[in-house]
């Protein structure tokens, strides 16, 4: 978009007007983006609430579970005692009613669904209905926060390592198209169809069961080493296999993808021109290959950073890794809406914020991109 010049304007006035116009344009652009992001988040979270509750059918499941639980309890209570049947039945009725009330089942699902939505959007995660944190807290915040470090450690280590290693190798391999290493990457890329937990089982069998050099599972030995350094080293030792399985699982396909991506840019005319001008490999890589691919790399990296918050459910399960992935899964299986909404809203906000700021970044790193569009 360009700003029309006015013949009576001085250059300074023109510059000021252009700045004002740009600011207005940016403000309008970001306002619209912000509103759209918020609407998207609201819709996404509400859909999550509906899905997690099976559109309200979970109420029926929970009520059945309460009836069963209460009947078992009362049955055990009155066992071998001469308790009148009426009293027994009244106890069941009272307990069922009380537990349904505590579980919020005395309110219509639709009312509760908006309650969950509002709490989530205002980051008031509240209390879990069924889950407790390892430390015994019912605060959703505590449930998430206590699992987050383990997930960030596992996912952060494996995914950041994966990102930078595959990017570097892909760049190098793309410069040696058809070489042995290039062919190896291509040939091995189908192995990434094997999920990380499957590699995890292999690695456990080899390094824990057979060689006995690494632990089977967990984040730290039981009992943990008493010193901080010992604890740190012990965690690292436990990290090798789960992080390794996540790394191996995606290594070849990621390298292959980046290598292919770089190859496309490597075959552009301007790269050939640069080569013809006699520029060195490093300079060509930096100026003519990496620079135009930077928005894609940044996008990929930003989404990766969002992704590491979700954890890796199966890998965490295989390795008994106390991460967020298993927590989210448990919340889903227990229909604990507060925890599901809590984790979802964090994801949604992070994704929204990331996408929002990516627009800025695109404009900074790629001169071809202008914010706000224009005529």
């Amino acid at each position: 978009m360009s700003i029309e010049t006015n013949s009576q304007e001085t250059p300074i006035e023109y510059a000021k007007r252009a700045t004002r116009e740009t600011a207005k344009r940016l403000a309008r652009f970001f306002s619209i983006r912000l509103v759209l992001q918020i609407i998207t988040i609201i819709i996404g979270v509400y859909i999550t609430i509906l899905v997690a509750n099976m559109g309200g059918y979970v109420d029926t499941i929970l009520k059945a579970s309460i009836i069963e639980e209460v009947n078992m309890e009362v049955s055990a209570m009155v066992s071998e005692k001469d308790i009148p049947r009426e009293m027994r039945e009244q106890m069941v009725r009272d307990l069922v009613e009380e537990r349904e009330r505590l579980a919020g089942l005395d309110q219509p699902f639709i009312t509760r669904s908006f309650h969950h939505l509002w709490n989530g959007l205002t980051l008031n995660f509240g209390r879990a209905r069924f889950m407790v944190s390892d430390h015994g807290s019912r605060m959703v915040r505590n449930i998430i926060l206590e699992r987050l470090p383990a997930t960030l450690l596992l996912m952060g280590t494996s995914q950041l390592l994966l990102f930078f290693v595959t990017l570097s190798i892909a760049l190098a391999v793309s410069r040696h198209y058809g070489s042995f290493w290039d062919k190896l990457i291509v040939a091995m890329s189908p192995t990434s169809s094997i999920p990380p937990w499957f590699y995890g089982i292999f690695l456990i069998l080899i390094f824990a069961a057979w060689l006995k050099v690494l632990p089977f599972s967990g984040m730290v030995d039981a009992p943990p080493p008493p010193t901080k350094l010992g604890y740190f080293l012990n965690v690292l030792k436990h990290l090798i296999l789960p992080a390794g399985s996540l790394f191996i699982s995606s290594f070849f396909i990621n390298t292959y993808s980046w290598r292919t991506f770089f190859l496309i840019y490597s075959s552009e005319d301007y790269v050939d021109m640069a080569k013809a001008k006699g520029l060195g490999d490093r300079a060509i890589e930096r100026r003519y290959i990496l620079r135009p691919t930077l928005p894609s790399i940044i996008t990929s990296f930003a989404l990766l950073m969002v992704g590491i918050w979700t954890g890796a459910t199966l890998t965490e399960t295989i390795f008994n890794w106390p991460g967020l992935g298993t927590t989210i899964y448990t919340a889903i299986s227990k229909y604990d809406t507060a925890v599901i909404v809590g984790t979802t809203i964090i994801q949604a906000y992070m994704l929204g914020i990331t996408v929002f700021f990516l627009d800025f970044l695109y404009a900074i790193v790629d001169p071809r991109v202008k914010l706000g569009g224009g005529k």
């Binding site: 029926t60 009293m87 009992p223 292919t260 106390p322």
Partner: protein
Amino acid sequence: MSKFARILSLLLVTVLLGGMLIACEQKPVTPEPPVDEVPVEEPVEEPVEEPVEEEPVEEEPVEEPVEEEPEPEPTTRVGGWLDEIVVSIIDAPSVIVQMEADAVDVYVNGFGTNDLDQLNDSGLPYTTSNGTYYTLQFNPAEFNEGLNVFRNRKIREAFNYLIDRNYINQEFYAGGALPKWFAIMTNFGDYALLADTARRLETKYAYNFEKAKEIIDAEMEAAGYPLTDGKYMNADGEQYEVIFLVRNDGDGTRKAWGTYLTGQMEKLGFAVNFKEGTGGDLGPIWIAGDPKAGEWHMYTGGWGASVLNRDQSNIFQEMYLPTSAQGLPVFMENDSDPEFQELGDKLYNREFTTMEQRAEMMARALELSLEDSLQVMIVDSKRFVPHQEGLVVTTDLAAGVESAQITPFTLRWEGQEGGTVRWATQPFLFNGPWNPVRGSNTTSDQGAVRMTVGYATTYDPYTGLLNAFWVDKAEVTVQTGLPVQKTLDWLTLDFADEIVVPGDAWADWDAETQTFITVDEKSGGEPVTATAKAVVYFREDLFDVVKWHDGSNLEMADIMMSYIMGFDRAKEESAIYDKQPVGAFNVFMQTFKGFKIVSTDPLIMEGYQDTFSADAELLVPIGYTWINNFQGEGSFASYAMMNSAEAAHELAYTESKALELEVEQTSTIGGPSLEILTKHLDQLIADGTIPYEPTLGQYITKEQAIARYQALKAHFEKYGNYHQGVGPYFLKSVDLNGKSLVMAHWDQYPDLADRWSMYSAPKISDVEIDGPGQVVGGEEATFDIYVTFQGKPYELADIKQVKFLVYDAENNVVIISAAEAVEDGHFVITFSGEDTAKFGDGATKLEVAVISIAVAQPTFETIEFITAQ
């Protein structure tokens, strides 16, 4: 490393090498668009605890004793045999690999019967205990629309013939379960006493497809669905469709035998609508749904038993009758046979006066239960706990290893004092907060807590009777005419025409004045009577030798604190009132008549209740109160601290109250609770508060209370937790996120480590029958029965009875009687000429059931011989 692991490793290496070879030959490919996404994992179903629909409690058999008994040796060691028990979690699928790699010593949760083959292949030793038992549950309701043929008892009964229980056991449970016909637990307690009836009925209701077909064809025809072209069709040409709800979670065996049964029904002529799902999926239909709505006909039931229930008089009402305490709509819809209804209710209410009368009623009820068949029993499954060679693991025949009270006292390395055991459990450790009143109740958490506990009386793992633990003796008195018996010597049993409760005994609690209400005060001076009374004498040095894990001596204030709280929490006037215990409290008060502290040094208590048990041992608890609660023990100091936080509405013992108040549930081992508890403990130290002072002030002084609080604080500062107990191990450390904990040996425990060594292995007898291979009808014949345990003759004093049954060539029971004792381990059966004349011609089978006093599981043995007339 296992063969499987080697093969997998080899495969991986092959894939890698293959990739490299391909790389050497492959031509460059055309570049493709980039892929940015990181692969995302699919969620997998987390293992869940075995869902148990109801709660009948029973007893069970053991196939082979595999535990090794330690060499008897004098020891000076006190408490547990081990220095440390390290508890951590493990995923079931990796257990065997980890045990083979020596990374784990015992997997206490154990495997189900469906995993038995895999366990046997591993070569690991294992113990055996009860598992879930499975049933086919019918919907007996009259549907609002359409016909429900399972309202017809004859059709339900015929399913006993339709189901080949032995096939199910062999095919889906690796032969490790027990085919089941009755609600009482197979091969245990009542089953042993009723062995003759049980065996006769099992023979009668053995698999017989043709008989099932004959009955069901006739009943379906009468119902308007005659068999037409192999299908039950009505006049409109519609085939009768059965909606079969099949659970596909848990160990997966319900789906397997559900599929088998579907095939059997389709062979008969039913159309089966096979609806599979998890407990959560099907619960709304069969539990919460209206049975009359016709949404289902049959359901694959699974029930748990965690206690060796010696008296299953209540089981018929609970499992079949509309008056069932289960209270589920489906039970209430059963139109039961009036005789069965009356019998089941009488047995539930124990309306019998002698054990012989009870046995007759139970035998008849067994028969009627098969005729009713609201539930057709399928199998009693088992659980197998694998452990390393050399580890001595005691299993409670019902509770297994993890849930057994005896486990911490007997767990040891054979022939060794000290050492560490790596105890692996399901991933349900720290599944909730720990607090003695209402902490987490997962088996993983309770299994760990149980290591820190001491007892007044404790359950015998093999008989279900109560043994004296820190009680010296007890005197039980019951009303004359009640059929109560006594087995063990540490108690006496007397009968009295009337048991009057003393006027000064406590009958209730006044939460406002914080004093007990006496019987006289409550009854206005009217005499109060009870059906049972127990006087319990604790060991004389109890308060000198039993110490809390914070180093304080056990005191009368500890016991009284715990007792008071049992009343106080259920009283609305109390500062720690909670709705949660009110129901159980009201039930307790229905039968509670009075309680009295006779003496505090030595400690003697007596209690009065309107309750009843066929075993006097099980009546002893009415005569004492102890420091145990729902989850472990609480000391005077720890309860004072937790009560203070509860009264301030900063924490709550129960989940429901915590939800109500929107505060955290009390945890003694971690989380936000610790800071709050510490604040209240500091306040107690500063104020020298004695809770419930009008009553507890009689048992503890302010200075003593402060000393107790300070000891608890010192313990917390050293170990980082407030968990208290008087058991053989104390909680040394926890890693809540890592889900592990360390229980360490409690050096100040009063008893020697070998006190419970006799429970290293269940005294299940081996039986051999010796007799002629051929018997002539009309002539006398003699058979010798040799009963041994670990190669030595079984003492006569430990054998209750040796029953036998004789089956003729057509499998009819022709004689039921008892063998005669000759000497330890030797019995004899002498058949007169009149007896052998009943055998008929052909193959005759003699089955012997040895019923022990030392273990609730009888041993069965058979011999076949030829009879010629």
